[in-house]
């Protein structure tokens, strides 16, 4: 997988840009890659399950595979912060300046999840975040978002911002990346997926266009039995 460009030695002699058959830039689904421990996943399921809970509108973040999505992303270049400038000095910056933490995302998750569970154990009689009542869980999330919770060795506010962003991404990503299982996120909002041709429905006079969502790797409608 990954980008494979034709090397000049194989470039066709016919004029024009080099082109070689069967060469494709394929998406990196990171299947089988893991970063999180079982305890971390347990905590993350509880956190994302409060951000997008299962309710009358459908399954929530844990059921949609958001933790799987985040786990794979943290194992890859995103988790390592490969594409970011990660050298000192580290200052808080202003909101428009983006990610300022000295910890790459994977390490930020590791520290924040550990500190959060440690905080909960100390504050709630030895219970982990995942073992708290939903009201207490929501209150902690509110404090993290507002910057009112202080966690050991990590900014709870920064972590919340990243967690919220990644939860949304995992809920609405293409299913090949591990989240949005069975396209529940897309079905919730009526997004028809990775389509790029609506010419047949241009004259629909404002009527809803109901198309089965489709991912990059297809959907149940592609199955040949």
């Amino acid at each position: 997988m990954g980008t494979m460009l034709a090397s000049p030695a194989f470039a066709r002699t016919i004029a024009g840009l080099p082109w070689s058959p069967a060469q494709t830039s394929t998406p990196q689904s990171l299947v089988g890659q893991h970063f999180l421990t079982a305890a971390e996943k347990h905590c993350l399921d509880a956190l994302t399950g409060r951000l997008i809970p299962s309710d009358e509108y459908g399954p929530g973040a844990p059921e949609a595979g958001v933790t799987t999505f985040i786990d794979r992303q943290l194992a890859g270049f995103f988790g390592r912060g490969d594409r970011w400038y990660m050298q000192a000095p580290f200052r808080d910056g202003i909101p428009g300046q983006g990610y300022q933490s000295e910890h790459a995302p994977a390490q930020l998750y590791r520290r924040a999840l550990a500190s959060l569970d440690a905080f909960c154990r100390a504050t709630f009689g030895g219970r982990l975040y995942a073992e708290l009542e939903t009201e207490a869980q929501d209150e902690l999330l509110r404090q993290m978002e507002a910057g009112d919770l202080s966690l050991e060795g990590v900014s709870a506010e920064t972590f919340f911002g990243l967690l919220w962003e990644n939860t949304i991404e995992g809920f609405f990503c293409d299913p090949l990346y591990g989240g949005n299982r069975d396209m529940v996120g897309w079905k919730l909002v009526g997004f028809p997926g990775a389509r790029y041709d609506y010419r047949d429905v241009l004259d629909h006079n404002g009527a809803p266009v109901r198309l089965e969502p489709v991912g990059l790797m297809g959907g149940p409608q592609w199955r040949v039995d």
Partner: protein
């Protein structure tokens, strides 16, 4: 090659000075121009050039069902090219498939077609080749299994299949028709791809142009009369295709891309008209109607088509003529041999850039995202939708081709 002028003439003069008088080239402008045009009609450059390397210096691997054959250097370099060949040597090769040392050439070299060319034409080609920049380049050893690695075996082949002799015009037909037939069956060697081969690699029924298979491509039927593969193409469609690489029905890629890039786009329109006239005169038998494919496969195929293909080829298969090839009515899609259709879905394809249409449009590969049964379903769908009725493709067909291409 278009700008044949002073430089080439000087080069020609220099070559003559350096060569033994016995070679006896005629380097008049008219003669070289005739030879240059002959080289274009024969598409010599495509096969006698290794990818990205010096033109006409050979060493390009040709995959045949029997093994790999490398093309020789046809520049006039003395050691590795034709530098020591006489006109007579060259005529023997072109007309009888015999090499300078008397050995038989493999019929991957299309001498069974070039034999239709008259002596004067072959001499002109010889003269023209003698003026090309000389390149020293050894030909790699052929990779052929026994007994085919014995050139003597070709003698037997010749006795069975080779019918030497220049083209004989049909006096009952027009001059243009005869010119077209000569170009198609002589230098153009269209039957090399567009006719079925027998088990020994010879054209069946002396090149009937009903389609064939070569290097894991299936070339379509190009008979243009009633029931022929090009029945829906007009004369103008054929000329446009050969001249620009595209027309309202199709776009050229793979082997045909080379034919158009090096050969037909440089041919004069009168010759292309002649080819069109000839092809349009070839009727064919009506084709058997194959069984209708399985409904469930067609339904899955339709979904796969809608989500992957329709953005360019449109849901009714009409495409965007000259940009995205129409699939409805396409000779490549309807070909009973589906190799090309499956291969294009697996690997993608690029339309040939030509002088007239320099922008090459590419279709991406789908082999990484569709499995064998899905490719079979979508291929079955396009072969049996709209007015197409060409039979089903099985996942096994796709799997087999995938394996062959991986080798």
């Amino acid at each position: 090659m278009r700008g044949f002028g002073i430089t080439s003439v000087i080069l020609a003069a220099a070559t003559v000075a350096a060569s033994p008088a016995t070679l006896a080239q005629d380097t008049s402008f008219a003669q070289l121009e005739r030879g240059r045009y002959g080289v274009i009609t024969g598409n010599c450059q495509a096969c006698h050039t290794a990818r990205g390397e010096e033109p006409f210096a050979g060493a390009r691997p040709m995959e045949t069902p029997f093994g790999v054959i490398y093309t020789p250097n046809i520049t006039f370099e003395r050691e590795t090219g034709l530098g020591q060949w006489t006109r007579e040597d060259f005529w023997q090769a072109m007309h009888n498939g015999r090499s300078r040392d008397g050995s038989q050439l493999y019929p991957a070299f299309p001498y069974p077609h070039f034999t239709r060319m008259p002596r004067e034409e072959v001499d002109a080609i010889y003269d023209y080749l003698s003026t090309l920049p000389q390149v020293k380049k050894e030909k790699p050893e052929n990779d052929l299994p026994f007994p085919l690695n014995i050139r003597l075996a070709v003698k037997g082949w010749n006795m069975l299949f080779f019918d030497p002799g220049p083209f004989e015009p049909d006096p009952g037909k027009s001059e243009a028709w005869n010119r077209g037939a000569y170009l198609v069956h002589g230098p153009g060697h269209c039957a090399g791809c567009h006719s079925e081969k027998n088990l020994l690699g010879a054209d069946k029924e002396s090149g009937d142009l009903r389609g064939g298979r070569l290097e894991h491509w299936s070339a379509p039927n190009i008979r243009g009369g009633e029931n022929g593969g090009l029945a829906d193409w007009s004369h103008e469609d054929i000329v446009e295709f050969l001249q620009t690489g595209r027309n309202r029905h199709s776009a050229a890629f793979s082997s045909m891309a080379e034919v158009i890039a090096y050969s037909t786009q440089h041919m004069c329109e009168k010759d292309l008209q002649a080819i069109a006239l000839y092809l349009k005169s070839l009727d064919d038998e009506p084709r058997d109607q194959p069984d209708a494919p399985d409904e469930a496969v067609m339904t899955a195929g339709q979904s796969i088509y809608a989500d992957n293909c329709s953005a360019c080829h449109t849901s009714d298969g009409s495409g965007v003529p000259r940009f995205f090839a129409p699939l409805a009515g396409s000779g490549k899609v309807r070909n009973p041999d589906a190799t090309t259709v499956i291969r294009v879905i697996l690997e993608g394809a690029r339309s040939v850039p030509t002088n007239a249409r320099p922008t090459p449009l590419s279709m991406p590969a789908f082999g990484w995202k569709l499995d064998d049964s899905q490719i079979a379903a979508v291929a079955t769908y396009i072969r049996n939708s709209w007015d197409n009725a060409s039979g089903a493709i099985s996942a096994g067909d796709v799997e087999a081709l995938r394996q062959q291409l991986a080798e």
